[in-house]
């Protein structure tokens, strides 16, 4: 047993998982005190954001940080690993989680007063955060499964709690599909273990290379399928536009921001580490093209603003898949940058949609109108993330898309063709979002419709927007603008992350130690 030299920052690695878990426990015990629950939630997420920031700076400076749990060095023990990609996504995800929590708390206070809180919301919210952190930080395939389960179980509760007769079927679809993908993940783990005898990712990297190529391909496709369901890549995306729109506003924003991107992160991690390739991956190029087009065209057909955003979410997963499919350092770097931007902007748009729905009382676009006159600030709040998602210069979306396009154009004829599809999908996105703009903000103001579902928790059709909800959404817009403002340093970080991911050596040496058995 060769204990890896203790990393001075290793103790920090467990905290993004432990703090939300402890916070969840405290919020369960203190469920009679809404104020305690709220303070604990915000403090924990602030602390995790700070830790993620430190991890990003340290891992960018000195390479991946490894924490062998229980003192057992990998590959015998379970290791937590923070490299540039995982710390960057952890930081962005936690900031989004924090902003959405502030929004949810303000919504609750505005609608029900300061004295009430739900007993389940805060614990489950923090559990979900713990699961997301663990998924980013783990260096072990089975722990990744556990992380997904923590995250998904919390999400099942969040999407179905206080559900109404109208919305329960959406929860059922979501739970069933997620359960199926989890069982398939477990099957994939069993097959991987049967073939290689390990579930440690770094150890697997060496052992998968020794397998017959056919077997390695099958295992790679199994994992692609599993994470494809979670990341909503076409044709495995059908559950997403069906379930997310029926979740309460802040929950939909959280899911849209985080869950699919965690699936994409797992896909990048496993494919780059375990199944390296030298050329662009044709299969994934085709899937990326289909995802971009089906998502964007599906969005055009929608009349429900949340469903429209859900289809755009699917479409933009295709952009990231394209980055992974090209499979070189520049493209993977572009995909990482795109993921960071996508987490922020989708969460923002769903929060804005929540604010719009609050004023109009409906999610149907043809029943809205004239918000530009009645709520001009809301229009500004919608316009900025919409332009960002469409990738209009000089927003963060443009920076990320440019990185992807440059990498694609440099990688050969087929990636160049798909890069053209990226541009088409971006224009379709712009068109879909402009339709929302025309329907919602232009035209004659219409009176708010009464709440069509008074049973559920979310009140809609009120004519005022509480200032704190507005501020929380604006905070996310600022994060998105900051990604554009600091595009230089960020691109440099993701560039180094991309090189590391494709090179694999920094990760392997950090986890297994230079004296490891590779």
């Amino acid at each position: 047993m060769n204990n890896a030299a203790a990393d001075p920052y290793a103790w920090l690695l467990a905290l993004p998982v432990l703090l939300p878990l402890l916070g969840a426990a405290v919020t369960v015990i203190g469920s009679r005190s809404p104020t305690l629950q709220r303070v604990v939630g915000i403090v924990v997420l602030l602390a995790v954001s700070a830790i993620a920031g430190v991890l990003l700076v340290v891992s960018d400076g000195t390479g991946p940080i490894v924490a062998p749990l229980g003192g057992w060095a990998a590959p015998v023990g379970i290791a937590l690993v923070a490299d540039r990609l995982s710390s960057l996504l952890l930081l962005v995800s936690t900031l989004v989680t924090l902003a959405v929590l502030v929004y949810a708390i303000d919504q609750r206070i505005a609608d029900y007063g300061r004295g009430t809180a739900s007993t389940t919301f805060h614990p489950m919210y923090l559990m979900l955060s713990a699961g997301v952190s663990l998924a980013y930080l783990t260096g072990d395939l089975f722990t990744l499964f556990v992380a997904f389960e923590i995250m998904l179980t919390a999400s099942y509760v969040l999407i179905t709690r206080r559900t109404s007769a109208q919305k329960i079927r959406a929860g059922m679809t979501y739970v069933t599909v997620s359960l199926l993908s989890s069982l398939l993940f477990l099957t994939a783990i069993a097959l991987v273990y049967a073939a290689t005898g390990t579930v440690n990712l770094a150890d697997l990297a060496g052992r998968v290379a020794q397998l017959p190529p056919g077997l390695a391909t099958v295992l790679g496709l199994m994992l692609l399928l599993v994470f494809g369901i979670k990341a909503a890549m076409v044709p495995l995306h059908f559950w997403l536009p069906d379930s997310y729109p029926n979740a309460p506003g802040p929950v939909a924003a959280l899911f849209a921001g985080l869950l699919t991107k965690v699936g994409f992160y797992a896909m990048v991690r496993t494919q780059t580490l375990l199944f390296p390739r030298d050329d662009p991956w044709t299969l994934l190029l085709v899937i990326a093209t289909a995802t971009m087009l089906v998502g964007a065209l599906g969005a055009l057909a929608q009349n429900d603003i949340n469903r429209l955003l859900s289809f755009l979410l699917v479409s933009h997963i295709g952009f990231m898949l394209f980055g992974l499919a090209v499979f070189d350092a520049a493209a993977v770097s572009g995909a990482a940058l795109y993921a960071a931007h996508h987490i922020t902007v989708l969460a923002t748009l769903f929060l804005v949609s929540g604010l719009i729905t609050r004023r109009t009382g409906t999610v149907l676009l043809d029943r809205m109108g004239g918000l530009l006159r009645t709520a001009p600030w809301l229009a500004a709040l919608y316009a900025i993330p919409a332009l960002t998602l469409a990738g209009v210069p000089p927003t963060a979306g443009f920076v990320a898309k440019l990185a992807l396009l440059q990498a694609g154009a440099a990688a050969g004829p087929w990636p160049t063709v798909v890069a053209g599809v990226v541009i088409v999908a971006s224009l379709l996105t712009l068109y879909a979002l402009a339709r929302v703009w025309v329907r919602v903000f232009w035209g004659a103001p219409k009176a708010a419709l009464p709440d069509d579902d008074p049973d559920d928790e979310v009140l809609v059709g009120t004519s005022r927007t509480p200032m704190p909800m507005f501020a929380a959404t604006a905070g996310l817009v600022v994060v998105s603008l900051a990604i554009a403002a600091f595009a230089g340093p960020l691109t440099a970080v993701t560039g180094r992350a991309g090189v590391d991911l494709l090179d694999r050596d920094p990760y392997l040496v950090a986890v297994l130690g230079s004296g490891g058995d590779r």
Binding site: M1, P75, V76, F142, F145, V146, E149, T153, Y156, V157, T160, T163, S164, A165, Q166, I168, R169, A170, G171, M172, T173, V175, T176, L179, L180, S182, L183, L186, T187, I189, A190, L191, Y193, A194, G197, T198, V199, V234, P235, F238, D242, P245, V294, L297, G298, L300, A301, Q302, N303, D304, R307, L364, D452, D453
Partner: protein
């Protein structure tokens, strides 16, 4: 040399087939049974993965030929607990659905159907890929009614019985 345990392989295969078949049913109760059966199949597969070629991560001395690989058993234990927890959750969800709508059938997506019946040019694409996922999606359960056992009404497009369905009904009527 690795040998294959045919009996185990057949058992796992049967469990997977039965599990997937049940998952494709509309009633949440059958879906639940499907998850249980599929979970058993997966855990059994994890056990088989513990066979001799597993290079057991056992420290110390002793005759490793006699020791089975303990790791998959630990993994299966974790997986069993998770599957169990989710089974109870699905049970609760099925019961909730029963309380709310009188049955535990997974309903059609109303908005999907509305778009599918639209005659907009862009709607045809949506129809294609959404309807592949749900064969037989052309039925409409009246969810507000307590006495329905979730009978499929097969192809009839009356969306007016949905709760809040006055909106969808209007739009559908307009589309037709």
């Amino acid at each position: 040399m690795t040998t294959i345990n045919v009996a185990m392989a057949l058992t796992v295969g049967t469990l997977f087939a039965a599990g997937f078949y049940l998952l494709l049913q509309r009633s949440l109760m059958r879906v639940l049974l499907g998850v249980v059966v599929l979970g058993h199949g997966t855990n059994l597969l994890l056990q088989i993965a513990a066979g001799p070629p597993g290079a057991p991560p056992v420290l110390g001395t002793g005759n490793t030929d006699l020791i089975t690989d303990p790791l998959p058993q630990a993994l299966a234990l974790t997986a069993v607990v998770i599957t169990f927890a989710l089974t109870t959750f699905l049970l609760a969800l099925g019961y909730r659905s029963f309380v709310l709508v009188g049955h535990d059938e997974v309903q059609d997506d109303v908005e999907d159907r509305r778009i599918a019946t639209q005659t907009m040019p862009s709607a045809s694409l949506d129809e294609d890929h959404d309807h592949v996922e749900r064969p037989g999606a052309d039925s409409d359960d009246d969810a507000g009614d307590d006495e329905t056992g979730g009978d499929e009404t097969g192809g009839d497009e009356t969306g007016g019985d949905e709760p809040g369905g006055d909106e969808t009904g209007d739009v559908e009527a307009a589309a037709r």
